[in-house]
C-alpha cells in the first residue's frame, strides 16, 4: 500500500526477427496517482500472448504499434489499491489492460470485476481474451456441425485447448496438434479424438490418417508447415477462421519460392473454402455476455479444463515471452507480478 516505486517493462527497441532480451528495458518509476473516476491497480497477473509480437513491430498490423520506450501492452488482473470512483473499492480484483508493469491507473469504467468463485487468472485465459477468441472464432466463423472434423494447432495453448474442447461439446471430431510428446499426451487427457506432434517427420501423413473424412474446420493460429499439411485435407465448404500466424511472426523476409499463393487461391476456388481473419474484439459487443455465461458454465462443470504456465516476477516476462514464440510454454502463459 505504501509502495512508491513502479516496475515497468518497456519496449526498448524494435526486434528484427526473433525478439531478444535486449529489445526490452526494465524501468522503475513513481507509482501514479488516480484522478477522479480512476483507480490505482496493482497487477497480480500479466497475460503474455502471441499478438504482442505484432505490437513490437512498426509494420502494418491490426493495431497500432507500441512506441519504442512505451510500456509493453498486455491484459492484466489486478487488485484495486485506491479508488476515486464509487464503483470500485480497495481489494476488488479487476480485469484491465495495464500492460507489463506493477502499478497502473485506469478509468474505473475500463476495469471489470472478475468472478470470485474461480481463480482470477482464468479472466486472462479460458474465460478471457484467449477463451473468447476460441469461442467466437469457432462458433461464429467455424460454424461446426455435429459429426464434422475440427483441427487446431498450438492445441495445448489457451486458444487451441478451448477450441478442441468446445468442438467436442458440439459433437465434432477434434484433432489437436502440438509440439512434443508431453503436450501430445496432455491433448489426449483433454479428450481430443486425435493428438499429433507437428515435429514428426511424417506429420502430414499422420494428419491425413487422423482426418479420414477430411477437415471441415481448421482453426488457424500458427501457419507454417501445419497449414501446408491441412490445406489439401480441407473439405468442400470448409471454414478457416484465422486468428494468428505465430510461425510467421518473426520472419523478416518472404520464404523462398516457388510462389504458392496462386495454388492457395486455387484451393479456395476448387473447394469453395472460406478463409476469414478475425480479432476477437470484433465480436465482444454482441457475444461476450453469452460467452461468459456459456463458457463459465462449462468451466465450472469441468467440461472445459484449462492449464496455466505461471512465471514468477515481472523481470522474467521478456524471457517467457520469447520462449512462448518458440512454443516453450505449456498452457496459458501468465506472469505472477505480485
Amino acid at each position: 500500500m505504501t509502495a512508491t516505486e513502479n516496475t515497468q517493462v518497456l519496449l526498448g527497441s524494435r526486434p528484427v526477427g526473433e525478439p531478444t532480451p535486449e529489445n526490452f528495458r526494465i524501468e522503475r518509476t513513481a507509482v501514479p496517482e488516480p484522478g477522479d473516476g480512476e483507480a490505482l491497480v496493482r497487477t497480480v497477473y500479466l497475460s503474455l500472448d502471441p499478438y504482442m509480437r505484432g505490437r513490437m513491430s512498426a509494420a502494418e498490423s491490426y493495431a497500432e504499434p507500441t512506441p519504442v520506450g512505451g510500456v509493453m501492452p498486455g491484459g492484466t488482473v489486478g487488485e484495486v489499491v485506491e479508488s476515486r470512483d464509487p464503483a470500485l473499492q480497495p481489494g476488488d480484483l479487476v480485469l484491465g489492460y495495464a500492460g507489463w508493469q506493477e502499478y497502473a491507473v485506469a478509468p474505473a469504467r475500463s476495469l471489470r470485476k472478475v468472478a470470485t468463485d474461480l481463480p482470477p487468472s482464468t479472466a486472462l485465459g479460458v474465460l478471457g481474451m484467449p477463451g473468447f477468441t476460441a469461442y467466437s472464432g469457432l462458433t461464429l466463423l467455424g460454424q461446426p456441425k455435429a459429426g464434422e472434423t475440427v483441427v487446431v494447432a498450438a492445441a495445448t495453448g489457451p486458444v487451441g485447448s478451448a477450441v478442441g474442447q468446445i468442438a467436442k461439446i458440439l459433437g465434432c471430431r477434434a484433432v489437436g496438434i502440438a509440439g512434443g510428446p508431453e503436450k501430445v499426451a496432455h491433448l489426449r487427457e483433454l479428450g481430443f479424438d486425435a493428438a499429433l506432434d507437428h515435429r514428426a517427420d511424417d506429420f502430414a501423413d499422420q494428419l491425413a490418417a487422423a482426418t479420414p473424412d477430411g477437415i471441415d474446420v481448421y482453426f488457424e493460429n500458427v501457419g507454417g508447415h501445419v497449414w501446408d499439411a491441412v490445406l489439401p485435407r480441407l473439405n468442400l465448404y470448409a471454414r478457416v477462421p484465422v486468428c494468428g500466424l505465430v510461425a510467421h511472426y518473426n520472419e523478416t523476409e518472404l520464404p523462398p519460392g516457388p510462389d504458392r499463393s496462386p495454388a492457395l487461391m486455387r484451393h479456395v476456388l476448387n473447394k469453395s473454402l472460406t478463409i476469414r481473419g478475425f480479432i476477437q474484439s470484433e465480436f465482444v459487443a454482441e457475444h461476450y455476455g453469452r460467452f461468459l455465461e456459456e463458457m463459465g458454465g462449462w468451466v465450472r462443470e469441468g467440461k472445459v479444463a484449462y492449464r496455466e504456465d505461471v512465471v514468477e516476477g515481472l523481470e522474467q516476462a521478456p524471457e517467457a515471452f520469447i520462449g512462448m514464440l518458440r512454443g516453450r510454454n505449456f498452457g496459458k502463459l501468465l506472469v505472477k507480478v505480485s
Copy 2:
C-alpha cells in the same frame, strides 16, 4: 429437321499449359433419337466460358474432368426438334447443357424454356450462369453496402459487367478493370465510376488512385497481377468472393519465388478479410428464382446492359475459346451453331 449428321467438338487430348487447336477434334456422328421423356434439341447458341479450361485437365477441380474423346461440355440454348415428353413441343427454345455439338438428346425435365421477350442468348449470359455468378457472388458473399467500393476485373465480360452494374444499382462505387482502351471505354459507357487498363505499367498506382477509400469488395475472377494490386488496398473486413482465376488456368507449374502465401495469410489476419471460393450452383436452389425476377427486371428496364461477342459456326469454337483465355473476347462469348 431431316438432318442425319451431328457435328461435335471433342476433347482430343489434354492441354499442357495453354490449349491449342490440336487439343480439340471435330467429329461427325449420327443425330441421336430421343427416348420416352426425352427431347432432341438443335443447338442455336453455345456458351464458351473460362471454367471449361478446368474440365479439360485431369487435375483436381470442383467438377469431374471431361474424358479424352468426350464432347466438350457447355451450356446451350437450342430449339426442340422432336419431343417425347408432353412438357415440350417442337419449336420451343430451351436452356440445356448439350455441350459443343449441333444436336443432343436430353431428358425433358433437364431443359428449361427461356423467356420469349428477350433474346434467347441472354439465357447463357446476363440472365444465365454468368449473370447468376455475378448476382449470387456479389450479393450473398460480397454483401456490398451503399457507399462501399466494389472492384472487379474482366469487367467487360459477362460476369464482371454484371458485377459492376449491380454494384451501381446497390449504391456502391464500382471500379472496373479490363485489357485495352476499347474495353476501358466500354466500361465508362456501362456506368463504372472508374475504368482501368490492367496492361498499364502504372496499373497498381492507377488502382490506388481510383480507390481513395480502399476496397470493400473485390470480386475475384482473374488472379494474377490484378490480385497483387488489389490486396494492399483491401479495407478492414473486406470480402473477396472468388469465382475464377483465369490468369492461372494455363499455368503448368508454380510461379517463381519468393513464396508469398504467408504474406497473403497475414493480410487476411491483419485486415480481418473474408476470402470465399464459390461456384454459382451452390446458390441455385435457394436464389435462382429471385435472380431471374430481379435481374430480368433490370435487363428489361435497361438498368443492366450486356454485350455479346458471337462467333459463327461450331468449327470456330476452339479458336474462340483459346482467344477468350487470352482476353480476346469482348463481351459474353457465344458460338452461333445454327
